[in-house]
């Protein structure tokens, strides 16, 4: 009996929290269309250059996504406080882009840290598209 509850609970939580990266992309697509009437889809190439592009932060240091995530999204990264960041590419870390709230939390923080602004839905979609393309 108890086992059944556990299994039911697992099914329920999977349904509530799990989203496939493709569903996430659909949400960003809807947003991107609102942000720009000329939206023409997401691009893994644009996402790749976004991921690797270094910019000068106002604090005088060069930063990019790869500063913490390394140049290869299949690798583990490291935070400035010495903690491991699991790989970003879903091909090696299937947990990535399956939790909308988590994805939004980290885009919210890291876009401000790296770009000193929020990211557009276009950029978020390109970024995910790129990471999905890394096998």
């Amino acid at each position: 009996m108890r086992n059944w509850f556990v299994i039911l609970g697992m099914l329920f939580s999977v349904n509530v929290f799990a989203a496939m990266p493709q569903e996430l992309l659909k949400q960003y697509e809807a947003q991107a269309k609102q942000e720009s009437p000329t939206f023409s889809g997401f691009s893994a190439e644009k996402g790749a250059s976004f991921f690797h592009a270094e910019r000068m932060h106002s604090d005088g240091k060069k930063v990019s996504c790869s500063t913490c995530h390394t140049n290869d999204p299949r690798n583990q990264g490291k935070t400035r406080a010495n903690k491991v960041i699991e790989a970003m590419a879903p091909s090696v870390n299937p947990q990535r882009f399956t939790d909308v709230a988590k994805v939004e939390k980290w885009f919210g923080r890291n876009c401000k840290d790296v770009l000193e602004r929020t990211c557009t839905a276009q950029e978020k979609g390109d970024y995910i598209q790129y990471l999905l393309s890394v096998k």
């Binding site: 604090d59 935070t79 400035r80 406080a81 010495n82 903690k83 939390k105 919210g108 923080r109 890291n110 401000k112 840290d113």
Partner: protein
Amino acid sequence: MKKWMQFLVLIASISSTSALLASGGFSEGGDKQMPTVANAKWKAECSGCHMLYHPGLLPERSWNKMMFGLDKHFGENASLDAATRDEISRFLALNSADKQDNRRSNRLNQSIPASATPLRISETRYFTSKHDEVSATTFKRKSIGSAANCVACHQAAEKGDFSESQIRIPR
């Protein structure tokens, strides 16, 4: 005295002595180590980027200042949604160094002037006096990173246990 009575007295004195030793001898009140505390949100959110700091390591006013400046958290954006932030703030306040009765939290708290609200544990007088034999270059070792990475040397730091026996300084 009969033999069995002598034996009983011996056992009683041994066990009371060991109990005294285990409790850290004649302390100025409270336990030696910080108590085990738990909050799922604190654990999940506050260990994403750095080691998990025990609430007993800073006074309430420091935690409050920290939690209401998360958008500029030591140079990084660590913003939380309001509900999560408030829950963690309450938990930190409830278990903060000035609300604890353990020796380490007491001493740490007493080393902070009432006029100060430190955000870095490593800037408290308690910390600097305890680490005066550790050089700046040791803290900068790749295996350590900085003085903020307690767990590099204090194996049980995330449980609030900073006892001498739990220290191993990596090369």
